[in-house]
Amino acid sequence: MNRVLRTALAAAILIVTPAFAHNGVVHLGPLNISVPFTRATLPNAPVGGGFFTVENTGTEADRLVSASSSVAKDIQIHSMAMEGDVMKMRELPDGLEIPAGETVVLSPGGFHLMFMGLNQAFVEGETVTVTLTFEKAGTVDVVLPVMTSAADAPAASEHAH
């Protein structure tokens, strides 16, 4: 009985609780999405990268399955790795798993969103809004501040040079 109630309550919360941002962290069900940012694109660059951190505080794995934005024709979820001195980028057609109790980081040099077919340049100081869809937690808008073209992190957490 108790479990049914809890499940029903959880389901109700999932349905009625909108995603909200708190201290720059976007909450979506058990997911906390933080340190979002993107980088200014170079002239004529038709692509851009999107970065953020997803913490799964739940007991079930979730999966980032897609992303979309008005600024790009398509957004893909990619992995990137250096093999020796060769940069290799791969599309993740099944999305990116966010295991229960774990934190997955999308950052330069690793997993990232790849904005393809940009409708506009990403300009430092502006923002880009992206809609993320998770298999279980649902859909949420995340605002990515645009940093410099070689930024490793959003302004608040970037080391002073």
Partner: protein, 198 residues
């Protein structure tokens, strides 16, 4: 007894033969690897800069250079490397006044001179280089640069590519690399060494 002495002599002779062979092999491999390094970049590629000037192996003569192979549909490595090259110029100031920088596309089908021109122009220092795909392939082969198309959903493609920055002396000879995201102080040290001997 005599038989034992003969065996001992024989064994020592064998040791000597092995030692000579090992030394010879070592000398041979070190010679060939330095010969390969010296030959890196040699080739008859006929490319052109985004400004329309011919660009060949001889274009590296007379100035030390940094050379990067990339493409504009590159979300991360290429913008980062360009930004780093621009920051090296900024830090080195007058020290780098003779240093040339080239960004050679590995994606000539999409990176026309017009596209590539603006992509690199903001640095104020880096010259974009493109050309016929067959000639680009000659150049990547000459520099032992890996570049391969990887299809993406929707018919698009990205590219795997060597992400190191090559350092060339004022005769266009290969003089080392700066790895992707190499520590800035190390990178500047390598550049200062290059400039000092050029």
């Amino acid at each position: 007894m005599a038989a034992l002495a003969r065996i001992r002599t024989g064994l020592w002779a064998l040791v000597a033969v092995v030692a000579v062979a090992a030394a010879g092999f070592y000398a041979y491999t070190s010679m060939t690897s330095s010969a390969e390094a010296a030959g890196l970049g040699h080739g008859d590629y006929q490319l052109h800069t985004v400004g329309g000037e011919a660009f060949t192996r001889d274009s590296f003569n007379g100035h030390p250079s940094v050379l990067f192979f990339g493409f504009t549909h590159c979300p991360e490595v290429c913008p980062t490397s360009l930004a780093e090259i621009a920051s090296w110029y900024e830090t080195l100031g007058d020290e780098a006044k003779n240093l040339n920088a080239y960004f050679v596309t590995v994606d000539p089908e999409r990176d026309t001179a017009a596209v590539l021109s603006d992509y690199v122009a903001w640095t104020g220092k880096v010259t974009g280089v493109t050309g016929d795909p067959a000639e680009i392939e000659k150049a990547t082969k000459a520099w032992a640069v890996y570049a391969a198309k990887v299809p993406l959903d929707g018919g698009d493609y990205t590219m795997d590519h060597t992400a190191s920055v090559f350092l060339l002396d004022n005769k266009g000879e290969f003089s080392g690399t700066i790895a992707y995201r190499e520590d800035n102080a190390t990178a500047l040290g390598k550049l200062r060494n290059l400039l000092a001997k050029s």
